[in-house]
């Protein structure tokens, strides 16, 4: 069941990518990103109210390292890059190249931050490069 959930997650993420770029095309880039974050904020507020409001207060102040808050800014940069590149590049490349980027930094973070280095992951990345190579060749 969780395997199916994980696949469904990928499908959602693809739809998210394509629809976000379509909204940006309709309304303009900045308004597209605005729509994305506006509705995400509202729906996550609702989710918070439904699932967590009883156990966790919204306004309890807690000192958080400022760098943790940069996630939101990165989210905007990511949205921006997707919106400009989706009409230009084939969607299979977007999925695969983005994944290689994810694995690449994932390994670096694992190594420096969690002190884990997995040889398996390196094999996977090599397999992925080979896959890209095949795509370009044929």
């Amino acid at each position: 069941m969780f395997i199916i959930l994980a696949i469904v997650n990928g499908i959602f993420s693809f739809f998210n990518m394509i629809l976000a770029s379509k909204v940006a095309k309709d309304t303009g880039m900045i308004r597209g990103i605005f729509h994305n974050f506006f509705w995400a904020t509202i729906s996550s507020f609702l989710a918070f109210l439904i699932f967590e409001a009883k156990t966790n207060s919204l306004f309890t102040l807690k000192s958080i390292p400022t760098i943790y808050l940069l996630g939101g800014v990165l989210g905007i940069v990511i949205n921006y890059i997707f919106n400009i590149s989706i009409p230009k590049v084939s969607s299979v490349y977007i999925v695969v190249i983005r994944f290689i980027g994810q694995l690449f930094l994932g390994i670096i973070i694992d190594y420096f931050y969690f002190n884990i280095f997995s040889f398996r992951k390196v094999i996977r990345i090599i397999l992925f490069w080979y896959r890209i190579d095949l795509q370009f060749t044929y």
């Binding site: 969780f2 998210n16 308004r31 995400a40 989710a47 808050l69 890059i81 977007i94 994944f99």
Partner: protein, 140 residues
């Protein structure tokens, strides 16, 4: 050039996941997600004011404008349910599998304005490697 941009984007995605995870650890799952989206929202509002973009000149609201935001929330929730059960690497690989199937179907028929491209049988070789990768991850 766009291909390298997408590569950098992938790197940013991992960094964002890490920061979100740390934020959720500090604040609680849904409050972390809320803060993340709210900060993004504030930043885009700042950009809108700075660039003086008119927010409401296009009054035709279409129902699918809601979906990208909603989907990103659903994805975060599914991730949080399935990662403790399967492990992050398998979840990412299976997610990629779902994305690839979707992208191939969408590309073949050109749905939602995706660049139309025929599916070539040679790509199946690539898929074989992908499967080997996923099985390797699952076995070890």
């Amino acid at each position: 050039m766009y291909k390298s941009l997408i590569f950098i984007n992938g790197c940013f995605l991992t960094l964002m996941f890490l920061l979100n995870k740390l934020l959720s650890q500090e604040l609680g799952l849904y409050r972390g997600i809320l803060v993340f989206h709210f900060i993004g929202f504030l930043v885009i509002l700042l950009i809108i004011f700075y660039k003086k973009v008119k927010l409401f000149n296009n009054l035709k609201f279409k129902f699918y404008y809601v979906f990208p935001g909603l989907f990103s929330l659903i994805m975060t929730i599914i991730n949080n349910i399935s990662i403790p059960q399967l492990g992050i690497s398998i979840v990412t690989s299976l997610g990629l599998f779902g994305q690839l199937i979707c992208s191939i179907v969408f590309e073949k028929y050109g749905i939602l304005g995706v660049v139309k491209k025929e599916f070539r049988k040679e790509k199946l070789i690539g898929f074989m490697f992908l499967f080997i990768g996923i099985i390797l991850m699952a076995l070890y």
